[in-house]
Subunit: 327 residues, 6 copies
C-alpha cells in the first residue's frame, strides 16, 4: 500500500506526474507520424524574480535527443524573459512540460523570497526554517532554493545534505518542556551535542525572555553562542523593544558576546526593524516556504524551422543573453 501521496523520483522521471493531455498529445502525434516534429520551445515567467530549478531541468532531460539552454540558478529575471529554451523533436520532451514548469515555478518562488530576506538582513545570518510549512517531499527542494536565493543555511536534514551543508537549528520548545527547565535543557544540550554546533538556547518557554537569557548566560558562560527569541504572537511576538532590552541586559551582565537569534513570523520588513534593534540572526519560516510559485509558461516558438506562436505571443524565439547551453 502507498503510504504517502507524493511522487517518488521514478514516477516523476517516467512522466507520471504530468498532465494527462500531454500523454494524449504524444498518442495523437504518433498516430499522425508527427511525434518527431522538430520544434523550439521556450519557457518564460509572468513576474520578475530569481531563477532556481534549472539544475533539475537538466537532470530531467539528460539523455533525451534535445539541445537545452537555460539561465544559471541564482540569476534574476524579468517578466517574459526566456529562461529556458529546448530544441529537438517534440516527442522527446513534450511530456515533461508539467514537471519542468512546476520545478521552475516553485523553486524560483522560494529563491526569490529568500533573496528579499537576505537583503533585508544586510550581512547578517538568515536561516531557512520553513520545512514545517511544506510537504516533506519538497522540504529539501525548498531549503535548497532558499540557499540559492541567499539564505546562509537550512534546518532540514535532507535539504542541508543536498547542499553539502550542516543543517542549522537550535532546539524545540518540546525539549525544554520535557526536561522542565530552560537552564537544565541548555546544560544537557551542551553536554550531548557535538562541540562544533553553536549553543543557541531558546529562552521563551517558561519565564520572561530577558530573565531566562541571563540565567542561561550565567550557566553556559562563554560557551553560550546565542539566545533565541521566538515569543508567540499571543504574547505580542518578538518586538524591537524586546530585542533592545535583552541586548542591554546581556551587555550589563557581562555577556556582550551572546548573539540574539530571532524567529516567528519574520518577513523582510520585520527583519529590517529587528536588525536595527540589534538582532544578529533570523530564522525565517513561512515568508520563504509559503511564497507563491512564480507562474511559468512554455510556448512553441518554431515548428519545423518556421517561427510561429499562438495568438497573443510573438512568433519565433526571443533572445536572452543570459541563456547558456546546458545540454
Amino acid at each position: 500500500m502507498r503510504k504517502l501521496f507524493s511522487a517518488n523520483h521514478e514516477e516523476i522521471l517516467h512522466g507520471e506526474t504530468t498532465d494527462i493531455y500531454f500523454k494524449r498529445t504524444i498518442q495523437i502525434l504518433e498516430a499522425k507520424g508527427l511525434e518527431n516534429t522538430e520544434v523550439v520551445a521556450e519557457i518564460f515567467p509572468t513576474h520578475e524574480g530569481l531563477l532556481c530549478g534549472s539544475e533539475e531541468i537538466k537532470n530531467l532531460l539528460e539523455g533525451k535527443k534535445v539541445e537545452v539552454w537555460a539561465q544559471k540558478e541564482g540569476t534574476p529575471f524579468k517578466a517574459k524573459d526566456t529562461i529556458v529554451r529546448i530544441k529537438g523533436p517534440y516527442g522527446e520532451f513534450g511530456i515533461f512540460e508539467t514537471a519542468m514548469l512546476g520545478i521552475l515555478a516553485s523553486s524560483s518562488g522560494w529563491a526569490t523570497a529568500a533573496r528579499e530576506c537576505k537583503e533585508a538582513a544586510g550581512g547578517k545570518l538568515v536561516i531557512s526554517f520553513g520545512a514545517r510549512h511544506v510537504h516533506p517531499a519538497v522540504a529539501s527542494v525548498m531549503d535548497r532554493a532558499a540557499v540559492i536565493g541567499g539564505a546562509d543555511g537550512a534546518s532540514s536534514i535532507l535539504g542541508a545534505k543536498i547542499l553539502n551543508l550542516k543543517p542549522s537549528g537550535t532546539m524545540p520548545h518540546a525539549l525544554v518542556l520535557i526536561i522542565g527547565d530552560t537552564v537544565q535543557a541548555a546544560e544537557a544540550f551542551d553536554r550531548v551535542v557535538e562541540p562544533e554546533v553553536p549553543r543557541v538556547i531558546l529562552v521563551d518557554t517558561f519565564h520572561d525572555e530577558a530573565e531566562e537569557s541571563l540565567r542561561v548566560a550565567r550557566a553556559l558562560k562563554e560557551k553560550l553562542s546565542g539566545v533565541r527569541l521566538d515569543t508567540p504572537k499571543e504574547r505580542g511576538g518578538v518586538t524591537p523593544d524586546l530585542v533592545r532590552e535583552v541586548r542591554a541586559r546581556l551587555d550589563q551582565a557581562g555577556f556582550p558576546f551572546v548573539k540574539i537569534f530571532v524567529s516567528g513570523g519574520l518577513n523582510p520588513e520585520k527583519i529590517r526593524i529587528l536588525s536595527e534593534a540589534g538582532a544578529d540572526a533570523f530564522g525565517v519560516g513561512s515568508y520563504i516556504s509559503s511564497a507563491k510559485p512564480i507562474e511559468m509558461t512554455m510556448d512553441l516558438k518554431e515548428v519545423k524551422g518556421v517561427p510561429l506562436a499562438k495568438r497573443g505571443r510573438i512568433p519565433g524565439p526571443i533572445e536572452n543573453p543570459l541563456l547558456e547551453r546546458i545540454l
Copy 2:
C-alpha cells in the same frame, strides 16, 4: 547521482526531511534517559480552513506505539481548533513533527482553496489544472487535496490514480501548433483518443475563439462535447462577453449541446462572473495550487500526566468533538 532534489518515500519515513533539532532533541533525551517520557501533543492551525492530510499522518505513524486522534479529511476547522492529538512516548513520534505539520499545512491550504472555487461554481464542474505550478513531487498531493476540497477532477496522471479517478484534460496549444490547424487537431484527437474521453477542443490558438468554435462544431458535430476558452491575458483573457458571444453563436448555428469550458487565471470571483455569463466548466490552476499553506503548530500539552504548556498557550489538552481515534 541524485537527479531530483525532492524526497522519496523512504527518506520521509526515515525522518530525513525533519528539522535537525528534532534529531538532536532525541539524542539529548536519550542521554538523560527521558526519550520515553509520556506526553500528549496537539496540532492546531492559525487560520480557519478545510482539513486535509490526516490520512498521510496516519500512515506515517502506523506501527509506532502511540494513540492518535484526528479530524476527518474534508471537515472544516477554525483557528486554534485541535485537529490532531498524539499520546505516547515522545521518542516514538517527535522526529515527525516537521513532516506532519508540512503535510497538514500544504494539503489543507490546497483543499481550502478548492472548496472556495467549487462554491463559486455552484453545481458546475471544477477541474484542478495546477500541477504545472508545483514541484512534480507534490503535484499528486495537491490534486488529491483539491478533490477532497470539492474539485470534480484533476489533470495529473498520478493524482487521478491515487484518487481512483480518470485524469481530466483537454489538449495543449502545442498539439494545435504542431498539426497546424485547430480543426485538424480536433479530428485527430477524435480519431485517436478512447471514445469515453469527452471531446473538448481548445479554440484560441490560431484564430478568433468564436470563429474557431463554429469551425470545430461543424467538423465534429454531435461528437463535440465542448470548446475550451483559454484566451491569453495579452488578448484580454476570457471575458464574460466572450462567453456570452460564443454561447450565442453556437446556439444560432445549431450547437446548443456544446459546453463552454474556461481556464486561465480563474479565481472564485471570476468563476462566479463567467458562470453567470454561461460557462459550463472551470479549469482552475494557480488559485488552488499556489494557495498559501495554512500554518500549523504542534504543542506539548501534557508531560507525564501533568497538564502544561509553554508561555502563551493554555496548559492541558483542548477538547474538540470532531476528533476521532485513527490509531
Copy 3:
C-alpha cells in the same frame, strides 16, 4: 512667590481667569449705561455627548441676580441643544462666559469618554486612572466627571473625596522594584493596608505575568482579590490571549476567585476585546483624561426682550424640554 500656575478658587470666582475682552466689554457698557441691559444667553455644544459641569456653573452664579436653567449632569445632549440658559442683566454674568464654557467643555468631554468605556465594559468595573495625564489642579474635576459618566471609581485622593467614594488603586511598579520581589511586595501590602482595601497585585514587574500570578496566588491564597496586568507596550501590551492564559492557569491551579484587572492604553474597543477574553476590571487612563473638550458656545438670543442673534444663528431662545431651573 507663586509655586503653581493654576488658579485658586478665589481667582476663578473673581473672574481673573476670564478672557480680557469680557472685562473690557463691561467697562464699555458701563460707560454707555448699558451694563444692566436685560438679556437671555444660551450655551450649546458643537458635538453630541454627555453633560457634566452644571453643578459648578450653579455655584459660580449663585448670588448673582440671574435666573438659570440647565440640563442635569449625566444626561446626553446633541449638537446645538441648549444646555444652559441664563436670563438677567448682562453685567451680572458676562464676565463668567470663559469660565462657564471651559467647565462645561472639559467636564463633558471627560464624562462622555467615560460613558463609552463603561458601555464597552458591560456590567464590569471601570476605574478612572488618568490623573497622571492632567494638571493636578483638575485631576479631581476629571475623576468626578468620569464617575458622573459611568466610571465606578477613581484613583485620585481629592477626586474620590469630592465624590464621597474611597479612592481606588492597586500598587505602583516602584513598590515592587524597591522591595525587590512581587510576592514580598504583595505580602507587605497585605500586612500594612487596611483590610477593606481589596488585594490587587501588579504582576508584570520582574517575571512573566502568568508565572507571577501563580506565585502571588499561592502566597496570599483566598485573601488575593485580583492580579493586575499592565504589560508595557515594549512587550506587546496586554493581549486577549494573555488574559485567557492567565485565567486558565489560575483556574487550573485552584484560584478561580482571583479577578483579572487590566490597564495600559485601554479604549472602548480594547475593553470589549479583553472583556470577552475574561478580564474582570479595567483601569482606564488617557482615553478618559485626554478626551478632547466638547466645544461650547454662548450666544445672546434676546436683548431687552427682543429676539435676536448674530449672523449664522437663529434669533430667539431655542427650547429644550430637558432644561430645569437651577437658580
Copy 4:
C-alpha cells in the same frame, strides 16, 4: 461648602491630588523601614514634542532632599528621551509622581500645539484664545504653555499676568449685539478703552464682513488697528477668498494699514492658507487648548545604587545631554 471641584495650591502641594496607591506605597515602605531607600527615577515621554512644565516641577520639589535634573522649558524632545531625573530617598518625592507627570503631560501638549501654529504663521502674530475650552483652574497654565511654545500673547487675565504680559483680545459678539450696531460698538470701544490697546473690531455680527469692514474703517480711520473675521461655520467660516476680498476692498478704499485678524477653528493648515491669502494675525483656540496631553512615564532606574528596571525597560539611567541640574 466647596464651590469648585478643582484643587487649590495647598491641596496639590500636600499630595491630595495624587493617586491613592502612592500614599499606600509610602505606608508600606515605612512599615518595612524602606521609605528612605535611595533611588534614581526618570521621566520620559511616549511621543516627541516641546517641553513645558519643568518650572512647576522645580517648585513642587523645592525643599525636599533630592537632586533634580530637567530639560529647559521650550526645548524639543523625542520619544523616550529622559526629560527629568530625580535622585534621592523615594519617600521624599514618590507621592508627587501623579502631579509631576500631569503637569508635564498637559503643559507639553499645549506648548507643542502652539509651536506648530507659530511655525505655520511664519513671523505673524499668534494669540492663544482657548481659555474657553479648558477648566478655569488651568486656563492660566495653558496660556503660559502656549506662550512658551511660541504664541505671542494670550487672552486670559491670569495667564497674561503670570507671563508678565498684557492680555490680548478684541471684543465679543455680545458687545455688538447689546449696543446694536458694529460701528457704534467700535466707537464706544475707542472712547472707553485705554489708548495703548489696539482697536481691533469684530465685523461679522450683523452684516456682511466686507461691508462692515469698510463702515468701521470709515468711522475710526487711522485709529483702526484691525478688523477681526470670525465668520461662523454656518456661513462657511473664514475662507481665503474672504480674506482676499476684505484686503482688496480695504486697500481700494484707502485703508491699507488696517490689519486682518482671523479666528474660528484655526489649525496649522488653515493658518498657512489664510496667511497666504493675506491674514495678519491669528486667534487660535481649540487647536492649542484641546491638544492631547503627551503621555509621560516615570521609571525607577536605580535602587540603592544598583541599575534596574521593570520588564520592558532598559535598566539604569539613560543619558541626555540636554538635562540641567535644577535642584
Copy 5:
C-alpha cells in the same frame, strides 16, 4: 463669412456633420453596386440612463425608405438595451450614424442627470439653469432634454419655446450692480415685468443674505414670491444652515409665504441636504448641462436577411419590448 462654427439644420440634414468615412463607405458600396443592401442596424448604450433624442432621430430619417423602431423619450434603459432599430437599404441611412448617435448620447446624458436632480428634490421645483455651460447651438436641446428628464422648467428662451413653456428665471447680479441696490432692483423688476412672472429676488449681491431677504420682503410684501440664494463659493456657498437661518428670520418677521430658491453648484446630494433644510426650489446648472454623454453604438445585426455581427457582439437583432415603430 461664417460667424459661428456650429452647424445649421440644413448642414446636419445633408450629412455634412458626419464622419468622413461614412461618406466614403457609400461611395465604395456604390462602386460595388451594394448601396441598396438590405440591413438591420441597432443602436445600444454602454451605460444605463433615460432615453432622450428619438424625436430628432425620427425627423432626421423621415422620408427615407426605412422602417424605424425606438423607445419613447423619457423611458429608462439599461446598458446594451436595443433602443433604436432601423431596417432598410444601408444607403438610405448609413450616412446619419454619426448624427444619430450624437443626438442620442448627448440628449440622454442630459435627461438622465435631470432625472437624478428631480428625484433628489422630491416634489419640489427644479429649473434647468445650465444654458451658460454649453454652446448656444445646443442650449435648447439641453433644456428640452432636462425637461424630458423631469425638470419643471428651463431658462433659455429657445429651449422653453420648443417645449411650449414660458422660460424661467429670476434676475442676474448685473441688474443689481447697475441699479446699485437690491431693493431698488426688486422694485423696478416688480414695476416692469409682466405680473404673471413670479417675483424671485436675488439677495446675495451687496449685503448679507439674511439681511437683504428681510429688506426685500419688507419692500415687496405679499407680492414677493421668493428670494434666491446664490452665495458664491468664495463665501462658503449656500449652506443648509444659511437656508435654515433665512427661513427662520423670514418667518419671525411675518413672511412665511416667501419661498427660498437656491442655486450655485447644486447636485443631487446638495439638493437633498438643502431641501431638508427648507429650500423650496432649485436652479441646477452644470450638474445637468455638463453631464457626460452616454456613449451609443450602432451595429449591423443582419445583412440581406442573415443575422451577423462583428466579433464581440451577438449576431442578429436583440429584442426589447419597449421598442415602438416610429417610421
Copy 6:
C-alpha cells in the same frame, strides 16, 4: 415644422438662446433709462485649461459699440484669470452673456482634453473621432476645438472644412460587414477612394486582428498605409500586448512600413502605454468630446467708471498681460 431642436445661426445671433432673465434685465434697465450705463465686464474660468472660443465671441459682438479684449485661442489659463474683457454700454452685449459663456466653456473644455492627449502621444498623430458623442450641431465646434488644442485632424466633414483640413477617417465596421470580408473591403476601398487618402484598414471585424493584418498587408502590399485596431471591450479592448504582437508579426512578414492606428476608449494614460508598445496613431473619441465644459463666469467689475463687484469678488478689473484687443 422644426426638424431639429438645435439653434440656427440667426437664432443665436438674435439672442434667442439666452437665459430669459437677461432679456428682462434689458427691459427693466430701459424702463429706468439705464440701458446705456457704461460698464466693464470680465469673464474668468473656475479651473485651469486651454482657451478656445474667443473667435466666435469676436464674431458675435462685431458691430456692437463695445471694446473687447481676449486671450488668443490655444493659450493656457489658470483659474480666475481674466480671459475676456468687454467695455461699453451694458445694453449692447448683456443679452449675449449666456451664449458667450457657453461658447468659451464648451470649446475650452474640448481643447484642454485634446491637449492632454497630444502631450501623451508625444510627436505621434492624434485624430478627433468624437463627433458621434455630441449633438451634430456642435460636432464641428468640437472638432475645431480639438485641433486648436493640438489634435492633428478630425473626422467630421464640416469640422474639417471649417479648419481648412481634409477630414480624417478610416472605414466603419459596417463596410466590412456588408461586403462580407476585410480583404475585399480593403481592395474596394483602394480602388474607389482618391489616391491621396491613406489606406488604413480596420482589422477586427471578423477574425483575429493579427491574422487579418497579415491578410490585408499581403493584399494591398506597399499601398497599405496602416491597420486600425478597434477591438471592442467585450474582447478585452486594445492591449499593449496586442499592439506588440501585431507589430512583430507585420515586421516578420516584411511589412515594417505598415502603421498601427488604435482607437476605442483611449485616454492620455492609455495613449501613453499603447504608444510605448508601438502604436503610431490614435483616434480619440469620448475623452475629448465628453470632456466637461470648463465653467466660466462673467462679472461686472466697473459701473460708470467706478470699480465694484458683488460680494465674494474683488472690485475693479483684474489685469492679465495675455489679453489682446480684438474689437
